[in-house]
């Protein structure tokens, strides 16, 4: 029970007035930006990084963790009140939550999401506190060859998300890795891909990359396709739940936690899969399966709990191995490094005050989220009505401010626009953002581990192979070759729940294509086109064809 003693020590750090203040600030800021479309926790942390140089590292990270948790919560508010999820993890919430809201049960949907997030977040953070030190202790024994293999696994896992295009994920990863290569190679002193431009010698600042891809790219892409009519926000009072709602919610919360935490801790295909797994599970176990699709509270309670538990789970590889599995975790890794702290398994030994303070602050942030968000829900709903011209102008304004402040260099502003253009292209052609940002941030670390491993073995490639890395490479091969392998498997061998989750994910993609296509009826003349061959090739024209029934 060492971990518990450390955790109590962590509360000593987290409960100082300054740190509680930063936790509250982070949670509020995180919820606000999670609610607002167009910005997410990853880019907010990236923007705040240059602006909080003067803040002490523990306080800054406590605030960032608050933003991480708050952003998750804010996203679900948006999907319940708007029916258009901002992030893939809230797709399911958008289905059931919005149906509940339309039926006048927005308050209950928000309440079960908030309380479920609190329950799941608290249990998952406790698991994190108990598990992470052990994992870190084991990980210290891990050789550079194994760390390199783990990083490769992280690359491939964030790339191969169920139900999306593998080629496009790999393309995005390649772009990210390439950006990560730019600059002086630290072992040889050689300039790589700098083309003699002195500003590139130190590499492209992670802040510029993250803000460019997430904020500028998103703003430009949205501007090119801006929905011109005002959004319909469903009015909401203070969230509350009846006794029956509680009875129907508490089991899904716990099951959601059990599904979400391991999926977050082991990078296995993005935030979408665990939430869908939870949704399918609840549908199976519910006494009211007929309500699913029409606003079943279990369908909000389970996935929302899953969502939060996986956010906490994602901190396990980040804190113990220095391997991020979400965009926000990747930026937090960059933040940790920017303060001169070396991430990795030794973090628990070298920075115990920081790590335990951070974990303890998660409990505080979670409680604050519950206490603040139940009464503040109407305020968040009002935030959704902000004029879009001001919202996106503000995003570009703060992006420029943050990117400039990072190095006080005009060159970075031009670079920001170029990377923003890249982000625009990636959104246009369905290249996911996550592999790119993981590639940029984790790529240089992976190269370092590879070189160390080969230095130990004197350049022999066999130095990359030992029992543990072989296991990882086999898993890697299985993930990469899954489409081929599946053909040889008998049908029954595919886990039915997984298959059903994959089916639901595809359905949801169709569903959202449908709502966006239906919202402008004048365009209904769009010719229905051939559906395309790969699973990723949903196009709105094809969705038009399957009819006008909204709210599947």
């Amino acid at each position: 029970m060492d971990a518990l003693t450390d955790l109590i020590g962590g509360f000593g750090t987290a409960l100082t007035p300054t740190n509680v203040g930063f936790a509250l600030l982070g949670v509020l800021l995180g919820t606000a930006i999670g609610v607002l479309p167009g910005i997410g926790p990853a880019m907010t942390i990236a923007l705040l990084l240059p602006l909080t140089r003067g803040v002490e590292v523990t306080s800054a990270l406590i605030m960032f963790a608050g933003i991480y948790y708050g952003g998750m919560y804010g996203g679900s508010t948006t999907s319940i009140l708007l029916n258009t999820p901002g992030e893939s993890a809230s797709v399911v919430t958008a289905i059931e939550g919005n149906q509940m809201a339309k039926a006048g049960r927005a308050a209950q949907a928000l309440a079960t999401a908030a309380i479920g997030s609190f329950v799941a977040g608290t249990i998952a953070t406790l698991l994190l506190a108990l598990l992470a030190p052990t994992v870190a202790k084991l990980a210290i024994e891990v050789s550079p060859a194994d760390t390199f293999a783990l990083m490769l696994l992280a690359f491939i896992a964030v790339t191969s998300v169920l139900g999306s295009s593998r080629v496009r994920g790999l393309a995005s990863l390649g772009l990210g890795l390439m950006i990560g290569l730019i600059g002086i190679d630290f072992t040889s002193g050689q300039q790589r891909l700098t083309f003699g431009i002195p500003e590139l010698a130190e590499g492209i600042n992670v802040i510029v990359v993250a803000v460019g891809l997430f904020a500028v790219g998103e703003a430009l892409w949205t501007a090119a396709h801006l929905r011109r009519k005002p959004v319909e926000v469903i009015a909401v009072g203070t969230p509350r739940m009846s006794r029956e709602d509680w009875q129907r919610s508490w089991k899904p919360w716990l099951r959601g936690t059990a599904i979400g935490f391991p999926f977050g801790a082991v990078p296995a295909g993005g935030a979408e899969i665990p939430t869908f797994l939870s949704y399918v599970t609840e549908k199976k176990l519910s006494k009211h399966p007929e309500e699913f699709g029409k606003g079943a509270i279990e369908g909000v309670a389970g996935p929302e709990a899953t969502n939060n538990a996986s956010a906490a789970g994602g901190l396990v590889p980040l804190l113990t191995l220095g391997i991020p599995t979400t965009a926000t975790a990747a930026i937090m890794l960059a933040a940790i490094t920017s303060y001169g702290i070396e991430p990795g398994p030794r973090l628990f030994e070298t920075e115990p005050v920081l790590v335990w303070g951070l974990i303890a602050s998660l409990f505080i942030g979670n409680t604050a989220l519950l206490l603040l968000n139940l009464p503040l829900a109407p305020v968040w709903a009002r935030l959704l009505r902000i004029p879009r011209s001001y919202l996106y102008a503000g995003i570009l304004f703060f992006s420029s401010l943050g990117a400039y402040a990072a190095n006080a260099s005009t060159f970075d502003l031009f670079l920001l626009l170029i990377i923003g253009g890249l982000g625009f292209m990636m959104r246009r052609y369905g290249l996911p953002m996550l592999p790119a940002i993981i590639g940029v941030i984790l790529g240089p670390f992976a190269e370092e581990e590879l070189r160390q491993a080969l230095q130990i073995s004197n350049g022999a490639l066999s130095g990359l192979v030992d029992p543990m890395s072989v296991v990882i490479y086999v898993i890697l091969a299985l993930i990469l070759l899954y489409p081929v392998i599946r053909r040889f498997l008998p049908r029954r061998a595919v886990v039915p729940v997984l298959a059903e989750a994959a089916h639901e994910i595809e359905e949801a993609h169709h569903h959202h294509g449908l709502t966006s296509a239906v919202s402008v009826e004048r365009h209904s003349g769009d010719d229905p086109r051939n559906p395309g061959r790969s699973t990723s090739s949903r196009n709105p024209g094809n969705v038009d064809a399957d009819g006008g029934g909204d709210g599947g």
Binding site: G54, M178, L226, G430, R529, G541
Partner: protein, 170 residues
Amino acid sequence: MSAAAPGGTQEQGRSELGVALFLGALGILVIVQALLLPESRIARGPVGPGAVPIVVGSLLVIVAGFLAVDVWRGGRGEPEGGEDIELTGSSDWKTVAILVAAFLSNALLIESLGWPISGAILFWGCAFALGSRHYVRDAAIAIVMGVGSWYLFVLGLGTSLPVGILEGIL
């Protein structure tokens, strides 16, 4: 992307081949650059600075090939949706162009005019591009944002932002 015009599919297909071409060209660029790296005098370890770039460049080239095949067979990238996004109709390039102009004017003017003014121009220009037509109200908000952010970040958080022509006034 879902232009109602006939032939829209083919058009998107062709432009997505452009993405494959772009990836392939980048990949070749990375490989060539890695091969041209001069011998290093202070290099340590058996893996030189060129090894990883060659792998990354090859990844880009291979992916470009697979993407081209996928597009050829009718696969299409799924444009990203979102709360404020309507994927019917083609891209609104005019809005994007004005946004880029506002963005660039800030980048060009920030050193001379200072952030409070160049930032205000950026905000006003973006709001205009996105369809706001309350010129005076927008200008007031823009100036408050520019000056306010300067005070907050420079005096409050110690960030360095150019003050430009307003030196001595702020």
